[in-house]
Symmetry: C2
Subunit: 275 residues, 2 copies
């Protein structure tokens, strides 16, 4: 029901619909920078991560991190990423997939070595523990938001892996929870590898919600551990707003060239869908 208006509206127009400042910033940034590409960076050394980001900084609108896989992590890394994000106009999404009860998830978001809340514009969570995880993370982010530091939460409504249980009624439940928490929930992870399923999500979710899709790759349709893939254009035409690519870019011989290619395909699909 919402897919059509999602496809016709520009990111700019949709930035007026959302109540969340991080979502607003992202939608405007996409339009200004003319990119809807997020790069997932699953490298395990600080220097490798920084080297990749410096290569791709002008192509991406989001850097997606897995901070807990970095072997030599220290605070300098997140400080440097924050500075790069500021200087080159991209935002940071820590793909932490918080999935505990409210109290624990809140601590994981704000404390420990990583203090995700201090440097990640976006974090995501599963809602398998119930809606209180959203409320708990929202409470944790209130102070930042009050001080004009945009923070937003992305809910996993679908996944792009084989046999995922995030489908059907589960997805519907997630969208309902988002609708009740519009001040903090900016959108959803949708299944980039499955255009039909993605359309279902795009139909459920009002255009103020941003749909982020992993499972995007031009050169491959699966890995050996159950991940499935589709292309940028198919995802964008089915309602995705942000194309997330990981190994398809960072494992290639020329990540910069690949990022330009993914960016071009994603952006052209976006321009065409509005026509």
């Amino acid at each position: 029901m919402h897919l059509k208006s999602r496809l016709k509206l520009s990111y700019k127009e949709r930035s007026d619909l959302t109540k969340n400042s991080a979502a607003k910033k992202l939608l405007n940034l996409m339009e200004d920078k003319k990119t809807n590409l997020a790069v997932g960076c699953d490298l395990t050394k600080k220097e490798e991560v920084l080297k990749l980001v410096k290569k791709l900084k002008d192509e991406i609108v989001i850097l997606k991190t897995h901070i807990d896989i970095i072997e030599d992590f220290d605070k300098d890394l997140t400080n440097e990423l924050k500075q790069l994000a500021k200087d080159y106009n991209f935002m940071i999404f820590e793909d932490r997939k918080l999935a505990d009860i409210g109290n624990t998830s809140q601590i994981q978001y704000t404390k420990g070595i990583y203090k995700i809340i201090d440097w990640a514009d976006f974090v995501n969570c599963h809602v398998i523990s119930g809606e209180d995880i959203i409320k708990s993370l929202n409470i944790a982010a209130k102070d930042k938001i009050k001080n004009n530091i945009p923070r937003g939460l992305i809910l996993l409504a679908q996944m792009s892996s084989k046999g995922t249980l995030a489908t059907g009624d589960y997805t519907k439940n997630v969208v309902e929870m988002a609708k009740r928490n519009k001040d903090f929930v900016v959108g959803f992870i949708g299944n980039g590898s499955n255009p039909e399923e993605l359309e279902e999500l795009a139909n459920l979710a009002e255009p103020e919600f941003i749909i982020f899709t992993p499972g995007i790759r031009i050169d491959s349709s699966s890995d050996s551990l159950g991940q499935l893939y589709s292309t940028p254009a198919l995802a964008i035409n089915s309602g995705s707003d942000i194309v997330i690519t990981g190994r398809g870019i960072y494992q290639s011989n020329d990540p910069y060239k690949l990022a330009k290619l993914y960016r071009k395909q994603g952006w052209e699909a976006y321009k065409n869908r509005k026509k």
Copy 2:
């Protein structure tokens, strides 16, 4: 259908049923040490964690950690915990709730700063991404297991928080996945706060699977962030094997006294249920 045999069999008898060496070790340890108490330790300073563990070492069969909330984490901590576990006969369960696709979860389990696989006998995961997360973690643990270092995986079949989506068909799916991966899956997280729901899980899961239940507290029935509670005896009588208590113990003025109390209630319920 399986609840009755679960309640009548001793932990010792059940240690012969499981194929997994970590499960075998745990079931025997419980019988030898006469405790089915796990303490969840959600403290954020190394010294606080170690102080608590040294107090409770003789009462617990499992220490449940959230390693990523510890502000001053370093490798000395996990080394020391490992040594304490060896010296005082308890096992370590990192409550990481891995919840990503197979490839990423595998990296999170084995790499980064924490290298969970090196020190945690047990780790848990959600299977929302599909069965490949189990296979991926199993592949990662193969070398340890081959070298007689027991490693086991606990699946979140239920949760103890308000409005959790891990119920009904979801729970059934999780149990089916466990049955197909018996060499690595040792059991389930069940809903300790809801005896009726727990019985459903205990009926689905063969007695070779161990049921671990958070949501256990003697003095309280909920927190302000959606967590619900029941008592050790109710949980054990409904099929739980391991009673997990967190804030009910570590936030009390006398954690040692409380641990003794929870341990006594859990163990007596276990002895009585076999009659």
